[in-house]
């Protein structure tokens, strides 16, 4: 993975994070409209 060599144990831990995060994206996909542009740190002041 990009020159990084995790162990199987590492990958099991990664899976616990992704198992929470990735399903939540389905809801975000539904909410975000096509015309919405990304906001990095350039939020209005």
């Amino acid at each position: 993975v990009q020159g990084v060599e995790p162990t199987d144990e590492d990958l099991e831990r990664v899976q616990t994070f992704l198992a929470v995060l990735l399903p939540a994206f389905e809801e975000l996909e539904r909410i975000v409209q096509e015309e919405t542009v990304p906001a990095a740190r350039d939020l209005p002041r």
Partner: protein, 465 residues
């Protein structure tokens, strides 16, 4: 002693800077074996800086002679910056971080470097390389994190004031658990130059102290545009400490209903509600608010944070992977598996979320919420009790902390009561770059109550046991 009180005594000549430094060194010597708030104590350097201050001519700054300690991700020239990691165990900073330069300009003395979760990437402060920081209110409990050493040092009076850093709660969480006042400023209010990043678009340095007044004094010193950090905003810095008038009477406070409905220890919810009633009794107008997209904000921040942290660590992940603590290694690796499209989707959702929170903050001056919904875990444990259920600690904190940092809002956590003898924190959230109102509200609450004046009964005997 408070920053404000100590600064007044130093200016009056009631004690010298060297005496102030020595009194903290004595206390660190007595108590820090048990608390483990410090990674590096700058004993000789701090005493030399104190003597140099007295010899120097010219104006004395507002923090003249006040000993301040900073989280060990912030550079102090000639001193180790370890980030509580074996990887940086020999990393001596060549230059002061911008905030350290600003503290020195205000007359402060740099007392030492404070414990943190490894690379500030976790909320426990239990580095396997430098040891856990222990909660001064109960030494078998964690301080929270990642700025656990900063909060513990403030609570145990091991420095007059401290600096921490906050990406997704790292100032607020330990401040709540340790019964002190922490302020995450607006993202871009304080320069991050000379500090180790977690996630660039969320990171911000801020004060952890024993009162809102002290936080105002430290923020005045460190806030403002830094030409060498393009992410800082060129926005005027008000004289925060002079704007604290103790009045809550004109404040409109929005209570985020959703955060009392689930995911919170019922006893903590009662304490927070009582604190809000104190503000109502002082004349504040309390309004219940609901915020669209609120439940998505944790997902948005997590997705971006995982990726940005992996990017920041990409070189070390290739060369020193096995030297990270297992939990930090897993978080960093997770960022390599989040799809690029998810990162951009989160950024797009972030814009919508900011619009919703801005709308909520048009109707009120500040929002009030619990800082943490649970009590701190015991050292060595990663689960907590939530109304009889055992759940993962790390999952409890996201809905309560990420919504505000996700869109860069300023947030203070102030002590507002106890459950099982452990402190509980009230979060006060303001509009972007309106730390003034947040600090005014926090100060008003602290003039109504004395929770921030309670100190842990930490003695050498207690520490030894």
């Amino acid at each position: 002693m408070s920053v404000a009180g100590l600064a007044t005594r130093l200016r009056a000549g009631e004690l010298s800077p060297a005496e102030a430094v020595q009194s903290y060194l004595d206390r660190i010597e007595e108590l820090d074996d048990a608390v483990n708030a410090y990674i590096t104590v700058r004993a000789e350097e701090a005493l030399a800086e104190a003597e140099a201050l007295v010899r120097a001519r010219g104006d004395r700054g507002p923090l003249w002679g006040v000993p301040i300690a900073v989280k060990d991700v912030i550079d102090v020239a000639g001193t180790l910056t370890t980030a509580a990691s074996r990887i940086l165990a020999d990393n001596v900073a060549s230059r002061d971080a911008h905030v350290v330069t600003r503290l020195r300009e205000a007359g402060a003395i740099l007392l030492g470097k404070l414990n943190t979760h490894e690379f500030a990437y976790g909320a426990l402060t239990t580095s396997p390389h430098f040891g856990a920081a222990h909660n001064p209110w109960a030494l078998d409990r964690v301080c929270g994190g990642s700025s656990g050493g900063s909060a513990a040092a403030a609570a145990a009076d091991l420095a007059a004031g401290t600096l921490g850093s906050d990406t997704a709660g790292s100032i607020r969480i330990p401040s709540s658990f340790c019964g002190v006042t922490g302020l995450r400023p607006t993202t871009g209010r304080v320069s991050n130059r000379g500090s180790i990043p977690v996630a660039w678009t969320f990171d911000t340095i801020g004060p952890i102290t024993r009162s809102a007044e002290d936080s105002a004094l430290l923020l005045e010193a460190i806030a403002g545009h830094d030409p060498e950090d393009p992410s800082t905003a060129d926005v005027p810095v008000p004289p925060y400490s002079r704007r604290l008038d103790g009045s809550a009477g004109e404040l409109r406070i929005g209570v985020v209903t959703e955060l009392f409905e689930r995911g919170i220890d019922g006893r903590v919810a009662v304490v927070i509600r009582e604190a809000i009633e104190d503000l109502r009794a002082a004349g504040a107008r309390i309004l219940e608010v609901k915020i669209a997209l609120f439940s998505q904000l944790g997902t948005i921040q997590q997705a971006m944070q995982f990726v940005e942290a992996a990017a920041a660590h990409r070189t070390l992940l290739r060369t020193r992977l096995s030297d990270y603590a297992p939990d930090v290694r897993a978080r960093l690796l997770t960022g390599l598996f989040v799809p690029p499209t998810a990162y951009v989707l989160a950024q797009r959702a972030r814009r919508l979320a900011y619009a919703e929170l801005s709308r909520a903050l048009e109707a009120v001056d500040i929002l009030a919420a619990p800082t943490m919904p649970v009590l701190p875990p015991r050292v060595g444990e990663e689960t907590v009790d939530l109304n009889g259920d055992t759940i993962l600690y790390r999952l409890t904190l996201i809905p309560f902390n990420s919504p505000w940092s996700c869109v860069g809002l300023p947030v203070a956590s102030v002590p507002c009561g106890f459950v099982e003898g452990l402190p509980v924190g009230l979060a006060l959230v303001g509009r972007r770059f309106d730390e003034e109102t947040v600090l005014r509200a926090a100060d008003a609450f602290q003039r109504l109550t004395d929770w921030h004046e309670r100190r842990p009964a930490l003695t050498t005997t207690a520490a030894a046991s």
